[in-house]
Symmetry: C2
Subunit: 207 residues, 2 copies
Amino acid sequence: MTVTSDDLENMAKLARVQLATSLPGPKPICLIGTRSATGSPNLAPFSSITHLGSNPVLIGMVTRPDTVDRHTLSNILETKEWTINHVTREIVEQAHQCSARYPDDTSEFDATDLTEFQHPEIHSPFVAESPLRIALTLEEVIDISSNNTRLIVGRVKLIDLPNHQIADDGSLDLAHLGTLASTALDTYFSLTQIAKLPYAKPLQTFP
Amino acid sequence: MTVTSDDLENMAKLARVQLATSLPGPKPICLIGTRSATGSPNLAPFSSITHLGSNPVLIGMVTRPDTVDRHTLSNILETKEWTINHVTREIVEQAHQCSARYPDDTSEFDATDLTEFQHPEIHSPFVAESPLRIALTLEEVIDISSNNTRLIVGRVKLIDLPNHQIADDGSLDLAHLGTLASTALDTYFSLTQIAKLPYAKPLQTFP
């Protein structure tokens, strides 16, 4: 079947959001940890997290002005720093609950019983229950004029993870770490690795 | 263990790339279909595909100037159009092979035995073997000055998928469609849905 742009416009709003957020397929799901200049911690789930570069290591994420993202964005603009915390099956319900619109003075850590982990060199909070935690510093904020969202570009300052989880080739075993994928705004997946393929070179014919 | 930014700088280049591209966790993996103004088709795998908006439905992807992305980018700038094709287990080796640096006059369809599907209203080629195919028109190209990459923003023009695959609430069953996730530049995952959670509202106590 074919769905046209007219069909999309005529869909009920919530169904269109659900379909639109499913179209890219599986996405990351991470908790973004920030702390205001006055010390209040904040956690928000993000799935728009994208690798942008490897030298230096840059990671981007997209924020919207009209959602719970707004605390994340204002804290990042104040402190130039945030954390990315992978989400596992054990904390998926708590991570999802962090998308609720809590009042400004409510910590999502308190509201969901997630545990703050404070690294001595990092102002922003980590999630203690997360197996892979990354601290970033702000490089750039880019306006996406098409729809008033923003791409926040960060440089990796520090990675915190269990010992012996980085293979000799630099790879991480995400299935072993328990990292989940997500789609839409409500759906979560566990991962089963099915292939790790060699660097592709042009061939005369495909095998 | 802790990996600092100094540790990252001192890593061997390929290991740093492998680690950096693993950090966001699972990502989409789609084949981007384009066609030059003179008619030559091109396919390239992308994992930097992100939902940007639902009204209109906008999807972004990041391109780099120095990789196989360059044909994709030049075709998009010429024709203002491209397709996104989900990758399944059945075509993962062919999709991966499309990352090889083929000469300009080689079609990745021919090189990998993937099948072109030409929709009457769309200039760019679809992948016939893909269960979910999306055509987009160019909205905006945004420079990411931190590292000379670009965010390409497209508006969804048309979605092509098997009948009865969009649920009443607008959602797609990605595990049923067979859509894969990826990480790094070489690793692919199948998906097992573990949760679909209701819209989160603030609660007095969790859960």
